[in-house]
């Protein structure tokens, strides 16, 4: 399966989705002009991955900041992952960033996937 690898920019996150190496990561800043368009390849990748996923999938979010339009798309990503067995979300937040911690908790209340919270 193809690897999705997007370099981060000042308004879009770094994304690596690599089934072979078991790396699933969205990190950095997310405030793209068109969040739906930006996240479409991610949703497409997950849709293909869900056909033959690895036994376990540790999907990592390590976001410094995301805007509200991205938050809707993050929920869409989580909802897509919900249908895959063996998924765990690793939600990173900076140790003094209560808002990012709370955002993770809210997402965890909206989907039926185990979340692990880690600080950096």
């Amino acid at each position: 399966m193809d690897i999705l690898n997007l370099e981060g920019t000042e308004d879009t996150p770094k994304i690596i989705l690599d089934k072979g190496n078991g790396i699933y990561e969205i990190s950095g800043r997310s405030l793209p002009e068109d969040s739906a368009e930006f996240y479409q390849p991610v949703l497409d990748w997950i849709s293909e991955y869900s056909g033959s996923p690895n036994p376990s999938t540790e999907f990592m979010f390590k976001l410094e900041y995301f805007n509200t339009a991205s938050s809707k798309l993050i929920l869409d990503v989580l909802s897509a992952l919900e249908d895959i067995d063996g998924v765990t979300i690793i939600w990173y937040f900076h140790e003094d960033d209560e808002d990012m911690e709370e955002a993770g908790e809210e997402f965890s209340e909206l989907v039926e996937i185990p979340f692990e919270f880690k600080t950096y």
Binding site: E10, Y65, N67, S71, D96, D97, D99, L110
Partner: protein, 176 residues
């Protein structure tokens, strides 16, 4: 040339560290954010305050990019940041069509009537049910601004000569 001095004086009187007037695009948004970030970095602002200011600025700027009504002959808007001893003030102003005033006012009054938990519930209700609009918004911007600033949103509608209104929005963020 006195207006130059007057403008400068007005900015000083209101503690404005940045004022931008003109067209709003994603590129302008990024530039304004970078300038504000540099200002906060160079003055050694607390990271939690910086994050909240950044957050409210993004929603405010992208609101204008996405939602400012294209009122005839007046597509431009204004954005400013005030830096006071105890707080940052994020202000925007843009023309909107008269027919949109009532619904916008109602939305903002509803948000201002909610406490912390009420805002959290509203946020979750909207994110669960919303679709990204044609304009690219999720309908969460004002709720998020109210949550992140932790204070009521200030707003006003100033009637303009052409019958439309100038929508002014103000968020305050306490400096920790």
């Amino acid at each position: 040339m006195k207006y130059i001095f007057d403008l400068h004086q007005t900015m000083l009187d209101h503690n404005l560290i940045l004022v931008y007037e003109g067209e709003f695009t994603q590129e302008i948004t990024k530039s304004v954010l970078a300038m504000a970030e540099r200002n906060m970095d160079s003055s050694g602002e607390e990271s939690s305050t910086k994050r909240k200011v950044f957050n409210v600025m993004v929603e405010c700027l992208q609101n204008i990019v996405k939602h400012a009504d294209e009122v005839d002959h007046n597509h431009a808007a204004v954005f400013m940041i005030g830096k006071h001893e105890n707080e940052y003030i994020i202000i925007s102003g843009n023309p909107i069509r008269q027919e949109n005033v009532a619904s916008l006012k109602e939305k903002l009054e509803h948000i201002n009537g909610l406490d912390k938990d009420g805002l959290k519930t509203l946020y979750k209700d909207i994110i669960k049910s919303t679709e990204i609009s044609d304009k690219g918004g999720a309908g969460l911007g004002f709720v998020d601004m109210a949550r992140k600033s932790g204070q009521k949103l200030g707003f006003d509608f100033v009637e303009m000569e052409d019958g439309n209104s100038f929508f002014c929005l103000k968020s305050c963020i306490e400096r920790s």
